[in-house]
Amino acid sequence: MLGPYTYFTWLACTLLEAAVVVCALRQGAFRRYLPLNLWMLLEMLSGLSRFYVLYSYGLQSNEYFYFYYYSEALATIALYFALTSLYARVLEELNVESYVQKAAILLLSGTAVFSYLIVRQSSHLLVTHFVVELSQNLYFVGLVLTYLLWGAMLKLRESRTRVIQFVLSLGVFFSMFAANYAFRNLAPDLRWLWGSLPPVFDCLLPLAWCYTFLRIPEDARLVPSRLAVVPR
């Protein structure tokens, strides 16, 4: 049985994801940031579908169990591609979009193979272990990629405030999930802690993106070196 906390964060997160898409449409930025908005839509639909499956089959059912993990893995893969779209945007003047796409697919395949190699010993629930391991590894790969992207933005003096805020909030999102998964492996007994944090993390990214769409105009510019923790 899910508690009121889970239902509340679930509802809040779904509404916030819808709000991001509405804000982007209102600001005329839906197509400009299409992959990010599509990911938000996917997350929202995934949240609604999960609720439908939960309502139809129950929390303990195999249907909900598989649907939950597969939708989570698919959403993580979609977010990974949304991140590569930010790479393409930042590096657009270098005309390296096709290289970015190839590298992204290669890295995704590599992560999938690595995840399979880790879980192949456990024949019991192999498929479920695989999607959990894949999600976990993709969050970490996403974190490393966002870190590299932020480094490239500082180097290339990327000044578009919206792009900067999208990348930094994605960095916060990936690092929170990667830290939480690592903490889960370090302290499996503290389920009450690592189990209750992800719903809150899920709400933070749409909140940050709503703010960016609503308050930051498309033509706003920043000096990126002023944002680095270590002054450049």
Binding site: R215, V223, L227, V229
Partner: protein, 133 residues
């Protein structure tokens, strides 16, 4: 072992992204000029200081909540707490960090003053709408 390394790296990256994100919020608001009225209310005449921050936050709580500003103000509040923690721990060992945290405190206070300005104009708009209705 591996999980420990990933945990440390993730927390370090989280701190770095969070600080940069908060600074991007502050930098976006630093271009706004405060009205004479808000300068009077907050006591900020030339440069904002860390002491101004808590007072401005108290004033902000008196204004009606503006949904789009609420979360950014909370993020900057968390950033201010993080800076306070750094000043009372790391800055004692690294003196140059003391000056850095002081300047960041001032920027947090300026951000809060800009939020207060937009909160005041928001409540004025609401009042005007009620008077019209």
């Amino acid at each position: 072992m591996m999980a420990g390394i990933i945990f440390i790296f993730s927390v370090a990256a989280l701190l770095q992204f969070f600080i940069s994100y908060c600074r991007s919020l502050i930098a976006a608001s630093s271009k706004q000029v405060l009205s004479a009225e808000v300068k009077d209310v907050t006591g900020i005449q030339r440069i904002a200081t860390g002491d101004d921050f808590k007072r401005i936050m108290q004033l902000l709580r008196l204004c009606p909540d503006r949904p789009e500003d609420h979360n950014s103000v909370q993020a900057i509040g968390a950033y201010f707490s993080l800076l306070s923690f750094l000043r009372s721990t790391v800055a004692r060992l690294v003196p140059s960090m003391h000056a850095w945290t002081e300047s960041e405190f001032g920027q947090c206070a300026y951000f809060a003053a800009v939020a207060l300005e937009s909160g005041i104009s928001f409540s004025r708009d609401m009042l005007a709408q009620q008077m019209d209705a």
